[in-house]
Structures are given as structure tokens and as C-alpha cells.
């Protein structure tokens, strides 16, 4: 599914991606519009074919693995429309993926367990996945879920499903509670973003003024030093030559005007030395960042940090809202299953146990393979810096602890790239993948390696769309094939696109 157009539910600024190929970044900071894009496409995906109004557009068939050789025009559909549902159903059926698993691969949504579940299903293949899911139950942890979701040997299928229902009910209640107070948080975030924009502008202006002033002081000081050296040499020449010293203007010997000229030069030299000292002190004063600038920057930083925290919280809540919908669906399915079991349609206990054991073994083996792949990717992105911490980091991440530090950002990015690679290896005609966040939290060492890795991924998937801050994009513009950014036109904002990287030179002759 290649993204052709990404748009929001309300704004007119859409991302036209029909001819976008390779590693493409949407560059913005703050990222309100990007979050609207992501929220709109997630909501459309969750609408299950009942989308009203405009939506993002995808194409299927022209791209993807082996797609270049296919004949015929690609199928185009709006995400959330009935046509899209039909295309999605075919893709999900072909790879035995669940809807939320496909969303995890395509857009990076959902919990770590969902990502893992998707990866396990893709590694095991559709037949094995379907069989394992059938053995572990039509719902629940399934082929990619935690093996401990499978029933214990001494637990009846009915008791197991009842346990899953209790867990799902608890999930629904917990996620519903987490949505309380979201509107207030959104209002606060908007307020802070406005304040931060003003403060950043102040900081930029103050920093420019400081650099200019310091440069000016440095230049003046150099000029005074040159002048002082020149005068000193002139005085020395006068002293050495005595009355025969030549006048600078007419060249005639100074003779009896020697003392007057020497005195005048000495006074001039002393003036220059005094002024030079003043400029040296001025330059020294300006060496360090002024307190006022530090204070503005510090305030801008603290506002930025506060906004980041709030944005993460809001993002978490958006994800949780989608999880709430999924958990509610799951609860409904579990209740249906409970009813079917009660009707006595299950298989014999012995066969079920044997099949379940085999399914658990397959799932466990695939989970271990996914862990090894994420590990290798994390090592590649960090040069091995997190090799020692990986077991704890990975366990934490799987447990749902998504931190805000660089370690969790790079682990999540590694897992995201790994998942996309597994999908491509499994023959999923992805067409595009989206990395909605995280690059800005990578450190200076990991970022170039990650961009190089994403660029390699973009040779296997036609469009890899990432969200980047200006710092990330300006720090390695040659990594990207295309950059989108917002531009103020006076009448509003429009999306501007440009091809970054060095110019091509056609050397002739």
C-alpha cells in the first residue's frame, strides 16, 4: 500500500506523495500538522470502511515486491473507504495478519506486543500462523502473542477463555480511564506551543546579536593589533634612522621635526594600544554567552521539554484510544467464543493440548528470532553501544514501558525497521512505511547510521516516510530523497517540497 496522498480531516495542506520515492521526510517543529496527518489516517484505518469525508489515498499493485513487473494500472483507494477495505482484506488474508498488526507494520501504531505478534506471524508464514492461531484460540494472544496467554495444561478451554475475558475487561476499563482529561491537556499543549514559538524567536534573535557583536569585537581587535604593529614598526624606524628618517607623506628627511613627529606617533600608538585593550576586554566579555541569552534559551528549552512531555502524553492517549477500540472488539470476540465453547463445539482435550504445545513452541521460536533480529539492528544503529543493556531494554519495551530517552528511541526505531524488513522478506507489498516519530531523540552518533539504514530500507520499499525536525534534516540533507516542509505564504500555510543533497555537475570537455 503506497501512500499517494496524506491529508487531515480539516486542514487543506495535504502531502502529495504520488511521485515521492525513496527516503522522504516531513520536516517540522512543532509538529501539530504531522500529528493531525497521523491521527487522521489512524482514525480512517480504524473506521473499517465507514469513513465519511476526505481521507488519505493509497495505491496497490504498481509497487512492492515484484510489482514493477506487473502490468495494468494500480488500484487506488481512500483509506477507510469500502474499496480500501476490500484491498486490505486481501492483503491481511494473504499473510494471515490482523488489522492492528498491519497498522503496526505500516504506520508503527500499537503496543510492542502487537509489533512482535505481526513479526512472528510474518516469520512463521500464513499457513503456520493460521494453524497456530486456530490451536491457541481464534482470539487472544494468537500466533504472535505471549505464549503465557495459552491455557495451562490443567486449564479447560472454557476457563482459559474466561480468564482472557477478565483480562480484556480489565484492559477496556484501564484504557477508558486513561482517556479522562484529554481535552484539557490538548488546550494546555496548544498554549505552550505558542509560548515556545515566541521564546525560540527571541532566543534566535539574541543569539544572532551576540555572534554578530562578538565577531565585530574580534575583527576590531585584529584591526587594532595590525595598526599597533604598524605604528610600532614606524616608531622603531624613526628611532633607528634619527633625523634622516623620511616623512611618510612626502619622503623628505624629518630633521628638526623629528621630535614632534615622534611624539605624535607615540601618542597615536598609545591611543591605539588603549583602544585595543578596550576591544580585547570587550571580546573577552563576549566570549561567554550573555546571561540574558542563556536565560531565554533555558526558558525555551524548558518550554520545549514541557511540550514534548505533553505531546508524548497526548500521543500515548491517541494510541490508547485506538487500543481501546481494539480491546473492545477483542472482548466482544471473546464473549462469542465463550458462547461457542459453551455449546460444546470444541475439539477433544487431548488433541487440543498437543496442538497447543506445538503452536506455543512455534511462537516461542519465532519470538526469539525476532529478538535476535532487533538486537542485530540495534547493534548496527548504535555501533554496539547498547549491546550490554539490550536484554533489559528489550524486556522493558515489550512490557510496554516506552521511555522518552535516546535508548528507547533507538530501540523502537530498530524494532520498526526490523519489522518492515521482515514484512518485505515475507513478500508483503507494503509500498510504503511511516516512521511517525523518534529520529529527533537519537544522539549524534546514531542518527547518521539510522538514516543510512533507512535509506537502505527505501531501496526495498518504494516510500519510507519519516517525520524529522529541521535539525535532523539539515544535519544530513543528502540522506533524503525528498523533503516536505510547511511554508507561510501570508494567506496561510502551504506544503513546500524540495530535493535536498548536493548539486549534480555535468563536466563537459
Amino acid at each position: 500500500m503506497k501512500l499517494e496522498l496524506l491529508c487531515t480531516a480539516t486542514r487543506t495542506a495535504a502531502l502529495e506523495l504520488s511521485d515521492a520515492r525513496g527516503l522522504v521526510a516531513f520536516v517540522s517543529d512543532p509538529d501539530a500538522l504531522w500529528r493531525e496527518y497521523m491521527a487522521a489516517i489512524r482514525a480512517a484505518l480504524a473506521s473499517r470502511g465507514r469513513l465519511r469525508g476526505r481521507g488519505s489515498v493509497v495505491s496497490v499493485g504498481a509497487e512492492g515486491r515484484g510489482g514493477r513487473g506487473r502490468r495494468g494500472a494500480p488500484a487506488v483507494a481512500t483509506v477507510g473507504s469500502a474499496d480500501f477495505e476490500s484491498l486490505l482484506e486481501k492483503m491481511l488474508a494473504a499473510h494471515a495478519l490482523r488489522r492492528e498488526e498491519f497498522a503496526a507494520v505500516w504506520l508503527g501504531t500499537g503496543r510492542a506486543e502487537t509489533w512482535l505478534s505481526a513479526a512472528v506471524a510474518l516469520l512463521n508464514g500464513p499457513e503456520t500462523t493460521r494453524r497456530a492461531r486456530g490451536d491457541l484460540g481464534a482470539v487472544g494472544g494468537g500466533a504472535g502473542g505471549r505464549p503465557d496467554h495459552a491455557p495451562a495444561r490443567d486449564e479447560s478451554a472454557a476457563a482459559w477463555v474466561r480468564r482472557l475475558i477478565r483480562e480484556a475487561t480489565s484492559d477496556v476499563q484501564r484504557l477508558a480511564r486513561a482517556q479522562v482529561g484529554t481535552a484539557e491537556l490538548e488546550a494546555r499543549a496548544k498554549e505552550l506551543r505558542e509560548a515556545a514559538a515566541v521564546k525560540r524567536g527571541d532566543a534566535e534573535a539574541a543569539a544572532m546579536a551576540w555572534v554578530r557583536e562578538r565577531q565585530d569585537a574580534e575583527t576590531r581587535l585584529l584591526l587594532y593589533r595590525d595598526r599597533e604593529r604598524e605604528l610600532r614598526e614606524r616608531l622603531k624606524r624613526i628611532r633607528d634612522a634619527g633625523r634622516d628618517a623620511g616623512c611618510v607623506n612626502c619622503g623628505r628627511p624629518l630633521e628638526d621635526r623629528l621630535d614632534a613627529v615622534r611624539e605624535a606617533r607615540r601618542e597615536e600608538w598609545e591611543d591605539v594600544v588603549q583602544d585595543g585593550k578596550w576591544w580585547r576586554r570587550r571580546r573577552d566579555q563576549l566570549e561567554l554567552k550573555p546571561d540574558e541569552l542563556k536565560e531565554i534559551e533555558s526558558r525555551a528549552l524548558s518550554l520545549g521539554a514541557e511540550i514534548e512531555d505533553l505531546s508524548e502524553e497526548l500521543e500515548r492517549r491517541k494510541v490508547q484510544a485506538l487500543e481501546l477500540a481494539a480491546a473492545t472488539d477483542r472482548l466482544t470476540q471473546l464473549r462469542e467464543l465463550e458462547a461457542r465453547i459453551a455449546e460444546g463445539t470444541g475439539r477433544t482435550r487431548q488433541t487440543e493440548d498437543a496442538n497447543r504445545d506445538e503452536a506455543v513452541r512455534l511462537v516461542e521460536a519465532a519470538r526469539e528470532r525476532v529478538r535476535a533480529k532487533v538486537h542485530a539492528k540495534l547493534i548496527a544503529l548504535t555501533g554496539g553501544r547498547f549491546a550490554g543493556a539490550f536484554p533489559e531494554l528489550y524486556a522493558d519495551w515489550l512490557a510496554g514501558n516506552r521511555g522518552s530517552g535516546e535508548d528507547s528511541a533507538v530501540l523502537e526505531t530498530a524494532a520498526r525497521i526490523t519489522l518492515a524488513e521482515i514484512a518485505v522478506d515475507a513478500g508483503v507489498a507494503l509500498g510504503s512505511v511511516v516512521l511517525p516519530a523518534g529520529l529527533e531523540r537519537l544522539n549524534g552518533e546514531d542518527l547518521p547510521r539510522t538514516l543510512a539504514d533507512l535509506a537502505r530500507l527505501a531501496r526495498r520499499i518504494p516510500l519510507v516516510l519519516v517525520k524529522a525536525t529541521p535539525r535532523v534534516a539539515a544535519g544530513a540533507p543528502e540522506s533524503f530523497d525528498l523533503l516536505y516542509s510547511l511554508e507561510d505564504t501570508g494567506k496561510g500555510q502551504r506544503v513546500r517540497r524540495r530535493r535536498p543533497g548536493p548539486a549534480a555537475l555535468w563536466l563537459q570537455g
Binding site: 542485530a376 552518533e445 534534516a473 548536493p502 555535468w506
Partner: protein, 351 residues
């Protein structure tokens, strides 16, 4: 008439990272000290002076200080600089950090538009084409100054019709080393006739593209894979315009060592630690202060974590940059014996 040609200084590279914060500054200062000894009338810097356009004060101070020292020894030198892609802000209304250093005495910078400098009473003409001007449409028309005795052209970009061995190697461009070069159709036409020297920047390895058209390469091994340039000497070029002779002047960049894979498929952490120890002991000149790459084959995440705690953490403290590669599975047949703990397959040379 001698011209010194530098490019891709990337001042500010490695800021905020552990081992390489001062590398770019150190080699730049060394290069300018060497240039001061040669005493050219013209120094050209063909772009990417800074690592990114939002550069902080220390790299600007480094540049300023080094130029000041050069001027003390070569008072009539002119330093002509073009903005590269890394010096150019994404926002076209900003000129970037070169606008600041362009205000220094003896420094002439082209940040957005092309410029022509006429020096030595009209004998020497220097045409500067920064990144922004090279990318804009319609492209600038490049022709030598007929009235000048010598014409020098300074450009930042990649060749559209690159041949074998003429591929880019710069931060973030790892995949492009395998990708085709940009097509000539969308490229800036650069007629080479009439120029006494064409100084190019953007590629990190030295290359002669045509007669009198040269890339000098970066001064330091930088980017996501500095080991790619392990066997390439780093430095700058000096061109003698009368004779057409071009010489390479090396500088002492970080040495890069890439070990052969340490194979642990038939053992565990202890085996890997022993073989790694043997491999490290066999590195000529030791590993201290170098860029070290260690591929490890056949260790799972938990064993690798143990190896990191027991061995790699100590190695990391000794080197400027350590990169571990986790390779899956057993070594290819026939290569296993050679791979077990063998020392550096590629070791960078320092002049």
C-alpha cells in the same frame, strides 16, 4: 602561482558524542599550518566547511583562529570559500554560518549566489559557485574570465556522469555508493575549457575527474562508516597553475582498523572474548585512539551483553570510536579458519 585546495572540513562533526568532538578541528588546524609553510596566494575551500548549518560557536571560533594564524604567516593570502550542502540552511531566507566567517579579513565567501573574485591586479580570477546557486534553475552560466591570466573555478557537487571509482562517500550517503549518479539532464553544465584549475568538493575521497579538475576529499574520516575510507590517505591538494602540476599533501587523520569477524559459533562468550583478545593484540601499533570495527559472528543477544560487560566496555574506553557488528550464523565454509580472531583486514594508515 600556487593554490591550496581543501573541502569537506565538517567543523563541528561529532559534537555531543564521546570520542571525536575535536577531530575535524585538529586536522583543519594542521592543514592550515602546513599551508602556511607552503605560502600560497590563494586557498580555496570547496564547501561543507561546517557539519551542519546550525553550528555552535566553537567551530566558528576554530575557523577564525586558524585563518588568523594563517594570515600572520602569509599576510597577503586570500581564502575563498563556497557554501556546501551542509553549510546551507533549509530555510532559503537564511545565509548560514558562512555569512559570519565571510566577514573575516582575507576570507571571501559565496553563500547563496555565485561570485567572481579578481585578484593580483586582474591576473587571477576565482569563480565561486555555492551549493544554492548550483541547484537553482536556471543554472548559472560558467565561463572563465578572458582578461585574467589564471582562472580558478570552485564548486560543490557530485559528478553527473561519474565513472568507476568516482562514487560519493560522505555522511549519510552509504547507499548512494551503490546507486547510479544523477543524470546529466538535471545537472549544472560545467564547461571545463579555459579553467586553469577546477576545485571540487562534496566527495570525501580524493579523485581527479578531468584534466585540472579535482576533488581533494575530506580532511578526516567521518560519517556513518569511516572504515570505508580506512585505506585512503586524507589531506589537501596544491595546484601550481603555471605547470598544471597538482600535489597531494597528507594530514594525520584518525587511523581506522577493521578486524576480521570474531567467530563464536562453536563457543560462547568466553571463546569470543579470547579470540577478540588475540585479534586486538595483533593490531599493528595497538588500538588506542583509533576507530575500531569489530564484527562478531554467532553470539546471541544475552551472550553479546555479557561480552560487552566483560570485554567491549574496556575496549570502548581505549578507542576513539568502536563499532560492533552482530553477524548471524556460522562463518561461510572455507573462511572460518581465517576469520577466527584474525587481525585487521583493513587498517587505515596515518602519514
Amino acid at each position: 602561482m600556487t593554490v591550496a585546495h581543501l573541502s569537506d572540513l565538517h567543523l563541528g562533526y561529532g559534537a555531543g558524542t564521546a570520542g571525536r568532538t575535536s577531530d575535524a578541528a585538529r586536522v583543519f588546524e594542521e592543514a592550515l599550518a602546513r599551508i602556511a609553510g607552503i605560502g600560497p596566494r590563494l586557498v580555496v575551500i570547496a564547501g561543507d566547511v561546517f557539519d551542519h548549518p546550525d553550528v555552535t560557536a566553537p567551530p566558528i571560533a576554530t575557523f577564525t583562529r586558524a585563518i588568523h594564524k594563517l594570515r600572520e604567516r602569509v599576510p597577503d593570502v586570500v581564502v575563498a570559500v563556497v557554501a556546501g550542502v551542509r553549510d546551507t540552511p533549509l530555510d532559503p531566507s537564511h545565509q548560514g554560518p558562512l555569512a559570519v566567517v565571510g566577514a573575516l579579513q582575507s576570507v571571501e565567501a559565496a553563500t547563496v549566489a555565485s561570485r567572481r573574485l579578481v585578484l593580483l591586479d586582474g591576473d587571477l580570477s576565482v569563480t565561486l559557485v555555492p551549493h544554492h546557486a548550483a541547484r537553482r534553475a536556471p543554472p548559472p552560466k560558467l565561463a572563465p574570465d578572458r582578461a585574467a591570466k589564471w582562472n580558478v573555478l570552485v564548486l560543490h557537487g557530485v559528478p553527473a556522469t561519474a565513472g568507476p571509482g568516482a562514487r560519493g562517500s560522505q555522511p549519510g550517503r552509504a547507499r548512494r555508493s551503490a546507486a547510479p549518479s544523477p543524470r546529466a539532464g538535471s545537472a549544472l553544465p560545467v564547461p571545463l575549457t579555459g579553467w586553469d584549475y577546477v576545485a571540487l568538493g562534496s566527495r570525501h575521497t580524493r579523485a581527479q575527474i578531468a584534466e585540472r579538475a579535482h576533488y581533494c576529499g575530506s580532511l578526516e574520516r567521518i560519517g556513518p562508516d569511516p572504515w570505508e575510507e580506512a585505506a585512503v590517505d586524507k589531506g589537501f591538494l596544491t595546484a601550481h597553475l603555471e605547470s598544471g602540476e597538482v600535489s597531494f599533501e597528507p594530514v594525520e587523520a584518525r587511523a581506522a582498523v577493521s578486524l576480521a569477524p570474531v567467530d563464536a559459533t562453536d563457543g560462547g562468550t568466553a571463546t569470543a572474548a579470547r579470540r577478540l583478545g588475540e585479534a586486538l593484540a595483533g593490531v599493528p601499533g595497538g588500538i588506542d585512539g583509533k576507530l575500531l570495527r569489530v564484527p562478531v559472528r554467532g553470539l546471541g543477544p544475552d551472550a553479546m551483553a555479557a561480552l560487552d560487560r566483560e570485554v567491549l566496555a574496556r575496549v570502548r574506553r581505549r578507542v576513539a570510536e568502536l563499532r560492533i557488528d552482530a553477524l548471524p550464523g556460522p562463518a561461510p565454509a572455507g573462511k572460518a579458519a581465517a576469520a577466527k580472531g584474525a587481525a585487521g583486514s583493513r587498517a587505515g594508515r596515518s602519514p
